[in-house]
Symmetry: C2
Subunit: 275 residues, 2 copies
DNA sequence: CTAATAGTGTCTATTAGACAGTATGTT
DNA sequence: AACATACTGTCTAATAGACACTATTAG
């Protein structure tokens, strides 16, 4: 190996082809909540988790759905910037909650060549998206999410199509409950994106109890019942109203707005209290 | 753009140079705990967090300390496998707790070329390492770790050398307490590794309260006082013994072993209860 | 009036914090 | 005996769970 006298000299002679190189992408799990309206005018609408998928119009995985994503430009872009660029392209918004989720790197996750992907979770209130979505993009509502014997079954709907997949979770670290994921059934989603979807939803579920992450999916003004319904759909369980109100009391601020016209007592609207 | 009839045809004609490529590495923050023995034979030894650093003998950053790491072989290795390979090389052990921490990707973090690094946290009881360390590797004890006005000051020692650095934390996400890190002062550590060290320690600190992560750093048999001391050094605060014992009671199992010879009442040894 | 949800008061059960006290080894 | 830590009992404070009750609207 050649010897250099200083770092400058070393760098001037550095051969970038010395190590094999690869491509990187970011994939973004953009999550929001939707209302499933009821027929009965009195009943309140149920909440569902929604995620944005894009129909691929090119190979590989042509005609399958995938998460919005894009290749990293290694010369001038960080992963965060790349994720923001993709989000801007899909939603026309710049100020969206964004968090690095996990770097997915199965060797054959992309049939073209080795592509490592840093996945991000993004949260938005989808009613804030005033522009129309790109023509290949569509919101899917998660209508079923259940875990039985370490197998997770997920069903999603847009207005035309139902997607179903299942993932087997295998415990690989008892001390910290780390699981590895194996896709059991999946006919509609490209790459390893079912794993990204599951691990993103689990991330939100974990964080909802010890952070204020939920407010990134809420409109500016909301009732406590609505907020509770969002907690319930993310946690996958019913909560008791008095306890819930006690816990979030110091995170929200009462306004003088009311939500009326619902066939029952109107609710006071609150907003997120930024301390 | 050329049209293909099916995925197979597309893949056969795929040009891997279509997107710019880059290199990836894994860097490993290997964490353990040490005893700082007291002069007084009665006093119990204080615990310190220890991390493994390696002295670089090549450019760039020649003669600086860095985390053990290595380039990913994109043809046949996952990031996890790469991390395990590095750990095996440094510790001669294969069954070490390992967890992906974060993917660091500042554009100029490596002066050679664009190198994105997926950092891992690894935990071990360093007394289990029966072989000698590689000649460039050394355990550093963290002797100071304090945060004042969002600046974190860290001091580390091996037997010859003291390393000091400081990092400024800037809140970038109020809802989830996300911070960006800026290295303020650092003369001894290569790359962006000060950031990796801080974010790894914070990860452990977060997880110690809701997982059993701590037992990856403990010997097979330990007293509850020792265990408490490890919690205290990781959390950076004193705990009350009765409360601590209540909380960890169902995570540990009493053995019939005792720890004697300490100039005070001997302690019962416990082991981790895997349920 | 009725159906439906909004919102609160209060009792109980569980968990966390604090402190004082007893136990038991080494020198 | 003196010191130092190991370990436990118990009181109190805070938090969580449960349920019953009152309030208020559209139709």
């Amino acid at each position: 190996m050649k010897k250099y006298n200083n770092e400058k000299e070393f760098l001037e002679n550095y051969d970038v082809t010395k190590f094999d190189r690869l491509s990187m992408t970011t994939d973004i799990l953009l999550v929001s909540v939707s209302n499933k309206d009821s027929i009965n005018y009195r009943k309140t609408s149920k909440k569902m988790i929604s995620i944005l998928l894009v129909k691929r119009d090119e190979f590989p995985f042509k005609d399958k759905w995938c998460l919005p994503g894009g290749f990293l430009n290694p010369k001038k872009e960080t992963l965060d910037e790349c994720a923001k660029r993709v989000l801007k392209k899909e939603t026309n918004l710049s100020n969206i909650y964004l968090e690095q989720l996990y770097t997915f790197d199965d060797i054959d996750r992309d049939p073209r060549t080795r592509v490592v992907s840093s996945a991000y979770v993004a949260l938005v209130d989808k009613n804030k998206l005033i522009y129309e979505l790109n023509k290949n993009a569509s919101w899917f509502d998660i209508t079923e999410f259940k875990e039985i014997d370490n197998i997770v079954y997920i069903t999603m709907n847009n207005n035309n199509e139902t997607i179903h997949f299942s993932i087997k979770k295998t415990l690989i670290q008892k001390t910290t409950n780390q699981y590895s994921f194996l896709i059991l059934k999946n006919e509609s989603i490209a790459f390893d994106h079912p794993k990204v979807i599951l691990s993103g939803i689990e991330r939100i579920r974990n964080k909802i109890n010890y952070t204020d992450i939920v407010f990134n999916m809420m409109p500016k003004y909301f009732s406590l019942s609505e907020l509770q319904a969002v907690y319930e759909v993310i946690l996958g369980e019913k909560l008791l109203a008095p306890a819930f109100r006690r816990i979030i009391a110091n995170k929200v601020e009462k306004t003088d707005k009311m939500l009326t016209g619902k066939g029952h007592r109107p609710s006071v609207l609150f907003k997120y209290k930024e301390t």
